[in-house]
Subunit: 415 residues, 2 copies
């Protein structure tokens, strides 16, 4: 079974909004054993919507659309779907009750423009949207059994509707094969070197397993995907594949079955009962933000200091004035004191610190843009590392965040 | 002139990586006056690449492709392009020199697999990639003058090649109309209410101007796009449109010509010479991370405290133990002390604070999940606000971040 995703919205085409919906929908469909063959983005434009729908229905069992369902003039998806299916808009009582419920909760009156949100094509099944005023819509093509679903583009409304309604309905409507994904997070080796290292293993994988290299800033995520009818057999094949992998490249593995280093860290800290504090200069709160984005972070994350200025490094972390004068903020001596300072002052078992030059300015001959010192302070000592992460600000921040998280994970799991 | 973007990669189709390339490329093309008509994502699959290329060339002047140029087995774009154009792979001396240069800088040896990166189809113009080993490739269809460009999928390599080479070459190859975008950031009013408020104005806009509503968490970005041959006339039309807008909805405007609140804040702080410190509980470093993602943040951002635990609120921010006991961490009294505490301790002019329940657990009847207290401390006083941001963790963090940034911007610009 094969799904196409069609995201509609001028804002996506001019690049002001990154299309996270396609990725999130693909994740949810894959997890449920449905394969996404293609995704496309088009504008709020009648001809483009009609032709994309036609072409996707040419080679897909289902087309999932998002966007263009808002109350404003530029949102035309509903009207175009009426045209496509030869349908008429009718007011849906359940959808209207939902609009009233949402507006009452906000102590607002329903205006005529809001009321229009409850109108849906008469040939579709309305899917009630508990999180917003635009309902989802489910269409079936009677001759082929193909399905077209239209969902609002607001990410958390789309996600709620996918989870509660669309994925279960698709599973009921289509028969789906089993799909198992296995992630291996690898750090400290480049993609091509890793590929050389595991070439023989890769060639020996059974045809039911597909391997993908997913490089991220300073990391590679390997994804094994097994697909077939016998779930148990697939699980065994994945286990066999892992057994062959570890002797070759196990030393670079920082986690399994996690999407991100933050998830791997959260699992380790929670399991071991340790606590963590962060002292960030050049990463500017990104490490803390990654950790606290995950539910349950308060179990192990005590807090952090974003020590952007030297004064804050001194007053909030206890870095010595002399150290800053003598070695500078971007130095091993400074990150050591930052990591140990935050560990002690915030009463945590572990402390991590970053100090570097994210750029584009601030570099010197001795410390060019991209230089980052990192430290991990544990109950038994401090480890430090310096790296050169290039001259792209966002990439320096990303790579430093990943690198120090990997250092922390190594430090935790070595014990 | 009309461009299609084709991003290739299995990782995008299973949703493990969000496709930021399409948005970034669209931004750059739009800024240069080129319109993106559609974008699509397909897997590393021969048939899909061939059919997407054919169908995009049906209605585009140029097709920009990314991805599938890595050194590993699953990357097949180069081979498929050879097939499409009836070409043969040949080693390119300049590309090979580039591979050697990059590896020497890392003190690594060039393996045979790396050397293959320098092979390109013999019918294309090689575009040297200073940031990575996979070169860009420029193809022209002689009869139609259409262009196909293939770029690596690594975002910062793609971006470098687009800026340095592809956009200038496209502008030279095609004649392009003028496009002007004007953003207005609006906060404190929902999309449908805003639409009602400015309906008459919207209807009176000239046909050369298009209006889009781009809702974000707790904000709406309005985008006016003017397109035509006379740049000066377009600028006047945009100015007229703004003159009509402000009397209707000016009170909700938090910024113009900025993509984000962080950019608007950076401009205000830098212009006014004030400094800022942050005290974050539920937003967990996200405010600091947003601010420091922008170059030049060190001019006004002194730093922050991520006060996730109550102990950190006390020891690092000076929140009184009594206050926490009596009112709890999520209270007006606590955020007041957090904002004023971080302002004083970090020696800043302004301090902002958040404390809330991001969820999914931790809510009570009196303080349900989604409750967030926010405060802005300025040299002249403290303002606070409480909001209910729903029960989606990521959304609570996003909306609290936006809301307190908007409060701060109001506080700065009121003076």
């Amino acid at each position: 079974m094969n799904v196409s995703i069609l995201n509609i919205g001028d804002e996506l085409l001019i690049g002001q909004v990154v299309n996270t919906n396609a990725a999130r929908m693909a994740q949810m469909l894959n997890a449920a054993g449905m394969e996404v063959a293609r995704t496309a983005v088009i504008g709020d434009n009648r001809e483009d919507i009609l032709s994309a729908l036609l072409s996707m229905l040419d080679n897909s069992d289902a087309v999932l659309m998002t966007g263009g369902l808002g109350p404003t003039k530029d949102d035309i998806t509903k009207h175009v779907l009426c045209e496509f299916f030869g349908a008429t808009l009718v007011e849906n009582a359940e959808a209207l009750a939902n609009v009233h419920r949402l507006f009452e909760a906000m102590h607002l009156e329903v205006t005529p423009i809001n009321r229009q949100q409850a109108w849906v094509p008469d040939c579709c099944t309305m899917i009630n949207n508990l999180r917003g005023t635009a309902p989802g819509m489910w269409f079936e093509l009677p001759k082929t059994g193909q399905v077209v679903v239209s969902l609002p583009g607001v990410p958390y409304e789309m996600e709620g509707l996918m989870t509660d309604e669309v994925v279960p309905r698709l599973r009921a409507h289509f028969r789906t094969a089993h799909v198992i994904h296995k992630n291996i997070l690898v750090q400290g080796i480049g993609e091509s070197f890793l590929s050389d290292l595991i070439e023989s293993w890769e060639k020996s994988l059974p045809s039911t397993i597909r391997l993908a290299y997913l490089p991220q800033a300073g990391m590679v995520k390997l994804r094994l995907t097994a697909r077939g009818d016998d779930r148990h057999a697939l699980e065994n094949q994945i286990a066999d594949a892992l057994n062959g992998f570890y002797p070759l490249a196990g030393q670079y593995v920082v986690g399994e079955d996690f999407e991100t280093l933050a998830e791997a860290l959260a699992a380790q800290f929670t399991r071991r009962g340790f606590t963590l504090a962060t002292a960030e200069s050049c990463t500017g709160g990104t490490i803390a933000s990654r950790l606290t984005a995950l539910a349950g972070a308060s179990a192990y994350f005590r807090g952090g200091v974003v020590a952007y200025s030297n004064e804050v490094k001194e007053c909030a972390l206890g870095v010595e004035h002399e150290t800053l004068l003598q070695h500078g903020a971007v130095s091993e001596a400074t990150v050591r004191q930052m990591a140990e300072g935050v560990r002690q002052r915030l009463g945590a078992d572990y402390g991590v610190a970053t100090s570097g030059i994210a750029g584009p300015t601030g570099g010197t001959a001795g410390k060019p843009v991209g230089t980052v010192w990192m430290a991990v302070a544990s109950p038994t000592g401090i480890t430090t590392r310096v790296k050169q992460f290039g001259n792209d600000r966002q990439r320096v921040i990303e790579r430093a965040t990943n690198e120090v998280m990997a250092m922390l994970l190594h430090s935790l799991t070595e014990k």
